[in-house]
Symmetry: C2
Subunit: 368 residues, 2 copies
DNA sequence: CTGAAAGCGCTTACAG
DNA sequence: CTGAAAGCGCTTACAG
């Protein structure tokens, strides 16, 4: 948005004559214009309009507000940011805004910011580590008051990421992580291992004895923790998984690994004698991909194969049969982390949330 | 992010001694610091670092870049915005970022901005007209270069919204609409009526003769246009819809209206003699809600009832049976509208996209 | 090619 | 309570 510099404000209004619109406004109204119109100093106008501990006399305030209203004054947030050394901005970094996991969190974050006067800047990094770091840099340039980082990250990226975040914090920026925590960083931590273990316990309790696990890349901490938590619980019950695969932490990854499970014969049409294998996918999106592979082969859930995910993304509400998962209060998580950031004192506050296993049709055993 | 004002930069670095980290950096590095370190004027440093038509000598440039790198300089985007009268920001306003329709568009918009150096500001308005206007005001304050408005809006809100957008444009801001166009506004226009008519044509061609339409609020232009386009095509074929309901343009709305359809007996278990009713929901989310209602009553799709939506949100890929819909290239739409904004000359450019009917299982007729 | 200086639109000690 | 003035960190004519 470009505002010409040297010109007088004639009048801010639009005159419509038939189909012809004559535009009379030439530039944005500045605080100085409002002050002049109200017959006060710029300092006073600022105090009336944009908040201050000093409260001008009500009579003056009324005049200023009237002038601002009449001229259509909008404070220039950039100038305010510069003068105040605070931009009123919060940056949110997600892997993919089109992924329901992240868009739910984003919605929560947006809600958490409501009424705070802060605006959200969004960066969707497409899971590229470099893009994530670029996003942090950009947010630093914009002097965002805080940065919210959502999603699991790998060990390797951490060095660079941490370095830049450290710089950010040294300059007074706040950081909150969602999901996987980074050292010295507050936010909402998801108890992946424990929650996955709870799911395994429920599944065992429901009578399952045959399992497979579809996990994500070895560097994706979240994937690893979920898989390990799940497997740990199994071995505690003296149960071994038939297979543990490792692939991409995405829908496509779930699809491919399930295909592999079918190719190797670990998963196939039920013979009525054995219990179906219960396949734990370390996130819901992967479970959806796995399901697509099963459907292509005409295998039915839960008769031939049982399936479980993790996250309880909103998409699952429309799945039929219902898919067993671990419920995470995604929107709340987003909201809470925004609130943590807003709460100055809570800079280092860290909250841990445990997921709740939800057993649905997809893991229902027909025979005891 | 708060930067203390009166202090010297000692050194920007982090010394790690075993587990103890000693923080030596005290404030953000300014351009003046870099200039001094490199032994040049601030003007020269600016030209080297932040772009300009004037190109300083390479030897000097090298020195400046080295100093910037060494000190860890980050340009202050707010100051740049103030000096340049351009913030490098694009505002995106959606109804609900957690809705796949909007999050797909958001992803596209983000991609369209990639490499342009522009950052995205996001506002999710929860379908509250007032929030939408507030978002525009806020974006105006931040002097965003452009605003992208996604989603259908009602007639009533338009007056206020248009007024504020007009002010915005008068100050040089660009505006693009996605979906429903506003007068004098460029962007990506969705040909709702035509596309819905095309769907009706396909459905008729597939042998359907009994229809019901679940539409959105009367003020939601998109809903009205889709319903009318669909019905218009039917009457052209001398077919009357059994029912046309009007409710909320949401998943919940679809659910309720389908319940009503069942209560009034318009939709029910197939008797094998009649063709099932084909229910057209004016968007996919509504179709999903309608489907949920059908499942609760144990009705099957497409045997008892056929169903069709509109949008082809990514969620549909995981529906089984597949749901007939009208495909909109959501991500492309977002990307294109961002590109339109980036293209200065194209301020008033308007692109129209037609949806493509995709017939899937949910409308398959078993008998010819 | 390079630098001194004004200006972007605000806020906020500091005086009055 | 109110105002004059300096300052926030940049960019960019304007001279040299």
């Amino acid at each position: 948005m470009r505002f010409p510099r040297y010109c007088l404000v004639i009048k801010v209004s639009t005159v419509t004559v038939s189909a012809v619109r004559v535009d009379l406004s030439l530039m944005a109204v500045r605080l100085a214009d409002v002050a002049k119109a109200a017959g006060v100093s710029q300092a006073t106008a600022s105090r009336v309009l944009n908040g201050s501990d000093r409260r001008p006399k009500e009579e003056v305030a009324v005049r200023v507000r009237a002038a601002a209203e009449k001229l259509g004054y909008f404070p220039n947030a950039q100038a305010q940011a510069l003068a105040r050394s605070s931009a009123g901005l919060v940056g949110l970094i997600v892997h993919d805004i089109a992924d329901p996991y992240f868009s739910s969190i984003a919605r929560g974050a947006q809600r958490g910011l409501e009424g705070s006067g802060k605006q959200l800047m969004l960066a969707s990094t497409e899971r590229v580590a470099q893009a994530e770091i670029e996003a942090v840099r950009s947010f630093m340039s914009y002097r965002t008051d805080a940065i919210l980082l959502a999603g699991s990250r790998g060990f390797d990226d951490d060095v660079l990421l941490q370095k830049v975040l450290t710089t950010y914090r040294e300059n007074g920026g706040q950081v909150a992580m969602i999901g996987q925590p980074l050292p010295n960083t507050g936010g909402v931590h998801i108890a992946n291992a424990v929650s996955a273990a709870a799911l395994a316990r429920e599944l065992l309790g429901a009578g399952h004895r045959r399992f497979a696990v579809l996990s994500g890349e070895a560097q994706v901490t979240t994937a690893v923790q979920r898989a390990e938590g799940f497997l740990g619980q199994l071995s505690g019950a003296e149960v071994d998984a038939d297979a543990v695969l490792q692939g991409s932490f995405t829908r496509e990854g779930g699809y491919r690994m399930m295909r592999e499970l079918m190719n190797t014969g670990i998963v196939g049409p039920g013979d009525g004698d054995h219990k179906p294998v219960c396949v734990f996918c370390v996130n819901d999106v992967m479970a959806l991909g796995a399901l697509a592979a099963l459907r292509e082969e005409g295998l039915s859930v839960p008769q031939d194969v049982c399936i479980a995910g993790f996250d309880d993304i909103p998409t699952l509400a429309d799945q039929y049969p219902g898919i067993t998962t671990v419920r995470l209060p995604l929107e709340d998580i987003g909201r809470t982390s925004a609130e943590i950031l807003l709460d100055q004192a809570g800079a280092e506050r860290r909250i841990t949330v445990e997921g709740i296993p939800i057993l649905r049709e997809s893991t229902r055993l027909s025979r005891a």
